[in-house]
């Protein structure tokens, strides 16, 4: 089953710490490759922490592990991923005359996958 969600890439403290430690280090890489999902959506999609999903936008696709978002941080239908290499692969090149690609709040589909390809 594939369903559409709204993805919010954003900053986290751990991602910021990872930048200083080095972008190829464990802290940064583990943070930017983990998708946070609302607990209701985890249940409805039959997901548990550490499962893998494929996210696809109009412009690209990525494979990431999932974890349940903290308490009521995310409403159902909203996904969050720390901003970085993977989240940026889902952005398009069009900036609508601003210089800024639409980098938050865009539609993605989420499909559970057995293992990353």
């Amino acid at each position: 089953m594939i369903e559409t969600y709204i993805l919010i890439p954003g900053r986290t403290s751990k991602q910021g710490v990872g930048i200083s430690e080095g972008k190829f280090g464990e802290t940064y890489q583990s943070e930017i490759t983990c998708l946070q999902v609302a607990s209701e959506d985890m249940i409805s999609r039959g997901l548990t922490d550490g499962d893998w999903v494929r996210l696809e936008s109009e412009f690209g696709q990525i494979e990431v592990a999932v974890k349940t978002a903290r308490q009521d941080e995310l409403p159902s239908g909203l996904l969050f991923i720390p901003y970085g290499d993977l989240s940026s692969r889902l952005m398009g090149g069009e900036t609508h005359g601003t210089g800024m690609p639409t980098s938050k709040g865009f539609d993605v589909t989420m499909q559970p996958i057995a293992t990353p390809s």
Partner: protein, 465 residues
């Protein structure tokens, strides 16, 4: 001024630098005490989690100061190659500049002028849309010191300082006891408007979970309330996901405040609407001044991204996305901004200073950057330095390098470096490139004038065209 004192608690001699400046984020906290042991910072007193990671992990990287096509080279050879690339390019792009000193930013704009380049900063993919909105409606502004001493109504909209600017609350906006707020946090009301309940929302008195992609509608609803315009409750609920009564309550509190401040983040500028969202918020702050004192400020991310805007503005007249190819500056976001230029495959060479577009740009932009020769500057190895034709490993600003940075409220602050570094600063390299570019320009001009003098004069043969 920074003072250096030996640490008495240690068995061997440690250096303590007081009032050092953290340049990780736009808060630019300048009250950090650093303890230095040899070539390491081992303690960063008063720094937040991000500041500690910044200071404790920026020892000089054990990489060559210059790599050309992945091979170690002298810095001088790198400078020569970089200058050749920029001078021979038909559409050179200079980009980045938010994590370096204003002295370096100034030199980079000079180089852009010498080679007729397009120059853009990471502002364009940060608060660039805010820069556009500022030109449209202006900004009612204040220093963070004024907010600390007077701000009794603090609103964060699409911003999560608890994670991105951890000392914002404690140093400037929420908990400090101010001149007119003797009880600190108790004297302030804090409101967070966001699509998700962030850590910042947990610190607020009121959290308004606005519907995703409806900031523009929500801000205009508030503007209407500020101007006593009647609204349809059903329409407001449908458009914003929030009951009209919640917005009315917020507006009542805003009008009752003595000094309100709205800090906003990339929740507005990166989401559909972008500059229109920022414009609505800036206009709301302006509207509120009919009732009381209200200001707004973007929460700036990188340590000197505000400096990048300032330096670009005082050197070219525009804050980002400036094209100097015709010998005078032209500004047009969408046309002269780095992400667009690369995604449209226009640039044929680039110089990236303290930025990582190979990790943060859209895939079409990355694909093109990878296909052209470019120069990269960074204290650490990044996806961008890895794919560079010329990669400079540079000393870190604020830790190894002195200079000036601008805090997010446009206040310039001096840096107090703690450590020596065997890598050169980006300023030294940029100055070298600028000099080399001038030499090559002179050489090319002489060669061109010789060619012209060898050409037959037009009147010998009449008009040839």
């Amino acid at each position: 001024m920074a003072t250096v004192t030996p640490d008495a608690s240690s068995e061997h001699e440690l250096k303590v630098i007081t009032d050092a400046t953290c340049t990780f984020c736009g808060c630019v906290c300048d009250d950090i005490d650093l303890t230095v042991d040899g070539d390491h910072i081992i303690k960063a007193k008063r720094a937040c989690v991000l500041g500690k990671a910044w200071f404790l992990n920026h020892t000089a990287d054990d990489r060559p100061s210059c790599l050309i096509q992945g091979q170690a080279a002298s810095v001088e050879a790198g400078i020569e190659r970089a200058a050749e690339l920029l001078v021979s390019a038909r559409y050179p792009l200079i980009y980045g500049l938010s994590d370096t000193t204003s002295e370096s930013q100034r030199t980079a704009v000079g180089i852009a002028d010498w080679v007729g380049a397009n120059i853009d900063t990471t502002s364009s993919v940060c608060h660039g849309p805010t820069g556009m909105a500022l030109q449209g409606v202006g900004e009612v502004t204040a220093s963070l010191g004024e907010v600390r001493n007077r701000g009794d109504m603090i609103i964060f909209w699409g911003a999560n300082p608890a994670e991105s600017h951890p000392r914002h609350f404690t140093r400037y906006s929420l908990t400090p006891k101010g001149m007119f707020l003797p009880n600190g946090r108790k004297d302030r009301t804090c409101v967070v408007v966001d699509v998700r309940k962030t850590k910042s929302a947990n610190a607020a008195d009121i959290f308004i979970p606005v519907k995703p992609r409806s900031d523009f509608e929500a801000l205009w609803a508030l503007r209407a309330l500020a101007n006593d315009v009647e609204l349809d409750a059903n329409q407001v609920l449908h458009d914003t996901g929030i009951e009209l009564s919640v917005w009315q309550d917020l507006m009542t509190r805003m009008k009752a405040a003595k000094f309100g401040a709205i800090f906003f983040g990339m929740g507005l500028t990166m989401t559909r609407g972008k500059h229109a969202n920022a414009e609505a918020l800036l206009a709301l702050a302006r509207d509120m001044n009919k009732h009381t004192r209200f200001i707004c400020k973007p929460n700036r991310g990188h340590g000197n991204v505000t400096g990048a805007d300032n330096v670009m503005a005082w050197r070219t007249g525009y804050p980002f996305g400036v094209n100097l190819m015709r010998g005078y500056p032209r500004f047009n976001p969408g046309e002269y901004t780095a992400s667009d230029i690369l995604a449209r495959q226009e640039a044929d060479a680039a110089m990236i200073i303290a930025a990582d577009p190979m990790a943060n740009f859209s895939q079409p932009a990355r694909d093109h950057l990878k296909s052209i020769p470019y120069i990269a500057f960074d204290p650490k190895e990044t996806p961008t330095t890895r794919a560079a034709e010329v990669a400079f490993t540079v000393a870190t600003y604020g830790i190894n390098v002195p200079g000036t940075v601008y805090r997010m409220d446009d206040v310039p602050i001096s840096l107090r470096p703690a450590l020596e570094c065997h890598h050169p600063s980006d300023l030294e390299i940029l100055k070298g490139i600028e000099k080399q570019v001038q030499k090559l320009n002179m050489k090319n001009a002489i060669a061109q004038s010789k060619n012209e003098s060898l050409r037959p004069a037009r009147d010998e043969f009449g008009s040839s065209e």
